[in-house]
């Protein structure tokens, strides 16, 4: 349970280093790192939607010409600056997305009332899914939904109190996440101090 909190807090501390990023190469590195973090927590990385995001954002930004002219396509001027701007924004979004996956992957008991309500909500989702799947006659549709809804109210909703058996030492996760935080901030600060890796 605690490990999840550490990941959550680490993520919050990392957040600014991503969306304040101004360098295209380093945001790409941050994105890679975030994706690796997410994968380490067993989250999937799908190439296609991210690629679509990258291409569409870059293309949209080409409509506002900026920088070195690379080539002309009809009446449009394809400029390098616009391309980089769009790509940078896309990588920022991708980084935020996978960082978010990482932050949320730890098993965190949400504090207070809202936490227990959300647990209840998620419990119900499980019930809805299993009940709906087991319904034989899904037509007529609304009658089927009614059946589902009525059945949900019959049963008692029992909260499962999962007791955390072993309190594994937290030093490990804390140190690892400190490393993550440092890496992201180094990636942010390096270009600020002029250590840019030139593409051209």
């Amino acid at each position: 349970m605690r490990k999840g909190y550490i990941q959550l807090i680490a993520g919050l501390l990392i957040l600014p280093s991503i969306f304040l990023q101004t360098d295209i190469v380093f945001i790409f590195l941050q994105a890679l790192y975030a994706i690796i973090l997410a994968i380490s927590q067993k989250k999937k990385f799908k190439l296609l939607p991210n690629l679509i995001l990258l291409i569409s954002l870059s293309t949209i930004h080409l409509l506002q010409p900026n920088g070195l002219l690379l080539t002309k396509v009809g009446p449009f001027n394809i400029t390098l600056g616009a391309l980089i701007l769009g790509a940078r924004k896309a990588f920022i979004l991708i980084s935020l997305l996978y960082l978010s996956h990482y932050m949320v992957s730890g098993k965190v008991r949400l504090p207070g009332k809202i936490g227990s309500i959300i647990s209840l909500q998620l419990l119900y989702v499980g019930k809805i899914t299993s009940t709906w799947a087991s319904l034989e006659n899904k037509r007529p549709f609304i009658e089927a939904i009614d059946k589902l809804l009525f059945s949900l109210e019959e049963k008692e909703v029992i909260e499962e109190d999962k007791k955390e058996s072993s309190d594994t030492p937290l030093i490990g996760p804390i140190l690892i996440n400190l490393v993550h935080i440092c890496v992201f901030w180094i990636f942010y600060l390096l270009p600020k101090f002029g250590y840019t890796i030139s593409l051209l």
Partner: protein
């Protein structure tokens, strides 16, 4: 440790509706979409039909649970997707409440749904203009809004039908 006070029962009811929203968004997620940004908004259905069922506080709790639930389950809560979801849902819920309670008998879930979808889409487009695309967002606006209109009409009509036919719903209205 199950206290069945009236208040607890209401909270359970809201959680149930929120769970439905989550369920519907999972269903929508599995439907293949040509463009990633086009959302059908199935998850808004509970927010529509809950308008006459919940108090103001309960309704906003529902909206919050919808956003948090979706964000946590998909892991997008702290990303741009989570922000868009929050902005869209809040705008939509606000407009839907205003429409529903201002026009009472002259409006059905259809108008409410359309209004909510338009509010949500416009709010999200504005967010996209500020943080993503700048003025170039005007190129995405038309198809986005058209898709939103079409899906909200279908959703609203379904909500009307549901109100007509569902025994469960009729029971809740009492």
């Amino acid at each position: 440790m199950t206290l069945h006070s009236e208040r607890d029962k209401r909270v359970e009811f809201v959680a149930l509706l929120a769970a439905f929203a989550l369920f519907l968004s999972t269903v929508e997620y599995m439907i293949p979409k040509p463009i990633p940004f086009m959302r059908i908004g199935l998850a808004n259905l509970p927010l529509i039909i809950a308008l006459p069922l919940l108090s103001k506080k309960e309704y906003w709790l529902l909206a919050l649970l919808k956003v948090l639930g979706q964000g946590l389950v998909t892991g997008t809560l702290f990303s741009y997707i989570g922000l868009f979801s929050l902005v869209g849902t809040v705008a939509s819920a606000l407009v839907m409440r205003v429409l529903f309670f201002s026009f009472k008998n002259s409006i059905t879930f259809l108008g409410v749904s359309i209004g909510g979808a338009m509010a949500s889409n416009i709010a999200q487009l504005e967010l996209a203009r500020l943080f993503l695309f700048g003025s170039s967002v005007k190129f995405i606006a038309p198809p986005f809004l058209v898709a939103g209109l079409i899906t909200s009409v279908v959703l609203g009509l379904f909500a009307n039908k549901f109100k007509e036919r569902s025994l469960w719903y009729k029971e809740k209205l009492l």
